[in-house]
């Protein structure tokens, strides 16, 4: 039993052979994750800012956008971009399709989290800032947003980790990231060791982030 476990899951020969492939996959995964974090959080903050300007023509589409991309499974969005897009003349690589679909998902959640932060800044602060002569946009940018962002950090960290983990979905649309490379290696070697390596690769990337999010939660805990 133990020998079989070692042979199939921790086979050093197989591990050595596919180490470069898993390493290349890690670089793609990290590249994709970094792009998604910047695009998703940036877009989410921008949308929350625009919504706070309280122009109906802007805030309605933003709410609908955030609702749709919080309700749809990212894999469904990804598959529509990648497999249905070409039918109407929109062609993109698996990498771009993953980047786009996960960024939109993260942006939708981030917008809601930032928005909740903006709402939680007391009315009195708006009035005080305005009465000192700051314009509406200045009040939002210099007084309200800095506090809103601070409040948003713990839930945002958790959500960002949850969404970036989904880069594994890219394996479905032929992106050569960790999981796809591991699955290919597993098929060639008829051995599960590459999948063990994939799991370890994800742990190497995400365990520090999860530990960091625990620390953030304590550090930024709202004190009443």
């Amino acid at each position: 039993m133990l020998a079989r476990l070692q042979e199939n899951f921790f086979n050093l020969d197989v591990a050595w052979r596919y180490l470069p492939s898993i390493g290349e996959g890690m670089i793609v995964t990290i590249h994709l994750a970094v792009l998604i974090v910047f695009t998703g959080l940036g877009l989410g903050l921008l949308l929350a800012f625009l919504r706070a300007l309280q122009w109906r023509v802007l805030s309605w589409p933003i709410v609908i956008f955030a609702d749709i991309f919080r309700a749809l499974p990212p894999l469904v969005v990804l598959i529509i971009f990648y497999f249905a897009g070409p039918f109407v003349g929109i062609r993109m690589s698996g990498f771009v399709a993953t980047w786009l679909s996960l960024s939109l998902a993260l942006a939708a959640f981030a917008e809601e989290i930032f928005w909740a932060g903006i709402l939680s800044v007391g009315r009195g602060q708006w009035e005080a800032a305005r009465s000192t002569g700051l314009r509406y946009g200045q009040t939002l940018g210099y007084v309200v947003l800095p506090q809103a962002v601070r409040l948003a950090i713990p839930p945002l960290t958790n959500r960002t980790i949850a969404v970036t983990k989904m880069t594994a979905l890219a394996s479905v649309v032929a992106v050569e990231e960790i999981l796809a490379n591991a699955a290919t290696a597993q098929a060639y070697s008829a051995n599960t060791t590459p999948l063990t390596m994939a799991a370890i690769a994800y742990l190497v990337i995400f365990v520090p982030l999860v530990a960091f999010s625990r620390w953030i939660e304590h550090r930024f805990a709202w004190k009443h």
């Binding site: 079989r4 476990l5 199939n8 899951f9 609702d67 749709i68 919080r70 309700a71 749809l72 499974p73 990212p74 894999l75 469904v76 969005v77 598959i79 529509i80 497999f83 249905a84 039918f87 109407v88 003349g89 809601e112 909740a116 709402l119 939680s120 980790i161 949850a162 983990k165 989904m166 880069t167 594994a168 979905l169 394996s171 479905v172 960790i178 999981l179 699955a183 597993q186 051995n191 599960t192 999948l195 063990t196 994939a198 799991a199 994800y202 742990l203 995400f206 365990v207 982030l209 999860v210 530990a211 625990r214």
Partner: protein, 223 residues
């Protein structure tokens, strides 16, 4: 415009593939009815064991929770689905999905319920114990009902994620909604079924999203 209607909102294709979509939808619901209760029970066990005050057990559970919060669910699913047969355990796709969802969601639900348990003052447990209730009784009648009520929004929010996550079961060929939509797309060479599947997910999940947004607004208004 015609191109979009022809490919995304083609009624003829929709009528032709509707039976596939209905079957996929039913399997998706079935899957939800299995994995959500299983995850909730698993999460409650994780949370209760973690609050027992035994240091090594608590430490072990933190490792368990962080481990499965770090692993992408799809990686876990593929690992279980491909790995277990290598150990001579034949597991059907449904079994692999339920097992990997149990590991993943019990970690998330466990974290939430643990926060709920910690929100109940210790004095209540001491009071309950001193009236002669056993540890289990205290937990079941005093602590858990209040703890769970305190974290209902987070539980619903996580359940929404679990419902959305069932779509990854399509990767191991479980005939749920997304899988059936892709099969229908393949056989008609028209992506209308994919758009229809998205519409079904939206119909199921949007009310939950709305509820969560409104609930959050009420909480902020109170604070």
């Amino acid at each position: 415009m015609d191109l979009i209607v022809e490919n995304f909102f083609n009624l003829k294709v929709l009528a032709e593939t509707a039976p596939y979509l209905v079957r996929g939808f039913l399997v998706m619901i079935e899957l939800c009815l299995i994995v959500i209760p299983v995850g909730l029970i698993g999460g409650t066990i994780v949370a209760v064991l973690g609050s027992y005050g035994i240091p090594w057990l608590r430490w072990l559970l933190v490792v368990y929770v962080d481990l499965f919060r770090s692993l992408p669910p799809l990686v876990l699913l593929v690992f279980v689905y491909q790995g277990l047969p290598m150990m001579g355990v034949d597991i059907p796709a449904l079994g692999a999905v339920v097992l990997s969802f149990l590991l993943n969601t019990s970690a998330y639900y466990g974290e939430i319920i643990r926060a709920g348990i910690e929100s109940i003052p210790r004095g209540q447990q001491e009071a309950a114990r001193s009236t002669g209730m056993t540890r289990i009784q205290t937990l079941a009648y005093i602590v858990l009902p209040q703890a769970i009520r305190n974290v209902v929004p987070d539980l619903i929010s996580n359940t929404l994620e679990v419902i959305k996550l069932t779509s990854i079961a399509s990767v191991v060929a479980l005939p749920e909604l997304l899988r059936m939509a892709r099969l229908a797309q393949g056989s008609t060479y028209n992506p209308t079924p994919l758009i229809a599947a998205a519409a079904i997910y939206l119909a199921v999940c949007w009310p939950i999203v709305r509820f969560l947004s409104r609930f959050e607004r009420r909480m902020t208004a109170k604070a």
